[in-house]
């Protein structure tokens, strides 16, 4: 039998389940941007790399990036496009060898954008530094300005490009944090996926402005550093254990 008290309690519970619980859950999850909405500065994408977990000889992230963006080589390593590469360094004092992936560091103060004569090198409001290939004239100033050698120039005529990664001869290109995936609501980049799949989990991608995002948790628990911190570029790619 339903009395007044029971009725009120049950109605309140039903309302709570319908409205309050989903809003709490969606607050924790990554809010997917509607396709028609412009990106905002409410998010700032970044990467944490734990060099201690990066394995020498493994190229899973590089292969995944090449696959995702259709980067095919011409057998000329000096000039073939490279959005992410593996770097191995040795500390001369301690002989400690460190291997880690290097890609565009997505600086807050990007020197590539400072030197670009056409504005083709730009920083999106969500922090992704990328090349607008419609306005890139291929002068390569940005390649010289980048302290991390993150950018590549396309020297050859290309065919069979991927729809999600248009690229062509005469333009400069670099890691764009899988911008197409992010705009479609993905929470991972191709390199992160590949690193996790390979069982290393050295790469963590996410929103730096969200205190509960996996990248923020990784940064908070590892106290990483930026490369060439002396340049004050405020990169959004952080390295631990180097």
């Amino acid at each position: 039998m339903i009395n007044r008290r029971n009725f009120l309690v049950k109605s309140a519970s039903a309302l709570a389940i319908t409205f309050v619980v989903p809003s709490l859950l969606s607050g924790k999850a990554h809010a997917k941007k509607p396709l028609a909405q412009k990106v905002t500065d409410k998010q700032s994408w970044g990467i944490h790399v734990d060099a201690g977990k990066c394995v020498e000889g493994c190229t899973a992230c590089v292969d995944a990036c090449n696959e995702e963006n259709g980067l095919t080589g011409f057998g000329r390593p000096e000039t073939d496009s490279q959005w992410i590469r593996k770097v191995t360094v040795k500390n001369k004092t301690t002989d400690k060898i460190t291997t880690m992936p290097m890609m565009c560091q997505h600086c807050e103060n990007p020197p590539c954008c400072d030197v670009c004569p056409t504005g083709a090198s730009f920083k999106r409001v969500d922090g992704i530094v990328m090349v607008n290939q419609h306005t890139c004239i291929g002068c390569r100033y940005c390649m010289m300005a980048c302290p991390f050698k993150a950018r590549s120039f396309v020297h050859e005529t290309l065919t069979q490009q991927n729809t999600n990664a248009p690229r062509g001869k005469g333009c400069v290109e670099s890691c764009n944090l899988c911008v197409n995936r992010i705009d479609h609501g993905s929470e991972t980049t191709a390199c992160e996926d590949a690193c996790n799949k390979a069982g290393h989990s050295a790469i963590t991608f996410g929103d730096l402005k969200n205190p509960s995002s996996k990248v923020r948790l990784a940064i908070d628990s590892n106290s990483p550093r930026r490369l060439r911190n002396d340049l004050n570029l405020q990169q959004k790619v952080f390295y631990s254990n180097i």
Binding site: L35, A36, K38, R124, L158, N164, G168, C171
Partner: protein
């Protein structure tokens, strides 16, 4: 001299008229079948699309690259998905190949297309274009469903 002037004028006018009318009334002769063949209208009125399609693309390209807007209506990838033709084996024919949708018209109007030096000329379905150029009829049905869902 007067006759010469008049004949020159007639020549100029006839050339001009030919250029203007070269596109009107004559249907595209493209090989293969595309999804667009079975559609009644494009994303905007056909007349407008014929003359101004590049303006829509130009506007959309900046919104997409700079602001991350990924709507499908004026998306370049969506144009390809819909207008690309498939041969009898179900293989996508690059849209800038001779006799295909983009190329056919741009040859007629003597306009060079530079889009495809960077952009894929084959559809993206299922994920990466170029890698899945062989499609059977089931795949094409799925593609049509996929495009319809996108809208």
């Amino acid at each position: 001299m007067k006759h010469l002037k008049i004949s020159f004028l007639i020549f100029i006018l006839s050339v001009g008229i030919q250029n203007v009318s070269s596109h009107d009334g004559s249907p595209h002769v493209t090989t293969g079948k595309s999804k667009a063949d079975s559609q009644e209208a494009c994303v905007e009125p056909t007349e407008l699309m014929r003359k101004e399609h590049y303006m829509f693309l130009l506007h959309q390209r900046d919104e997409t690259v700079i602001d991350g807007v990924r709507t499908k209506k004026h998306s370049f990838a969506n144009c390809i998905d819909c207008h690309v033709s498939y041969d009898e084996q179900g293989k996508a024919i690059p849209i800038n190949a001779e006799g295909q949708f983009c190329q056919e018209c741009h040859v007629k109007t003597a306009t060079n297309i530079t889009c495809f030096s960077c952009h894929a000329a084959e559809p993206r379905f299922p994920q990466h274009s170029g890698m899945t150029s062989k499609m059977n009829s089931n795949d094409i049905n799925e593609l049509v469903k996929h495009i319809n869902n996108d809208k």
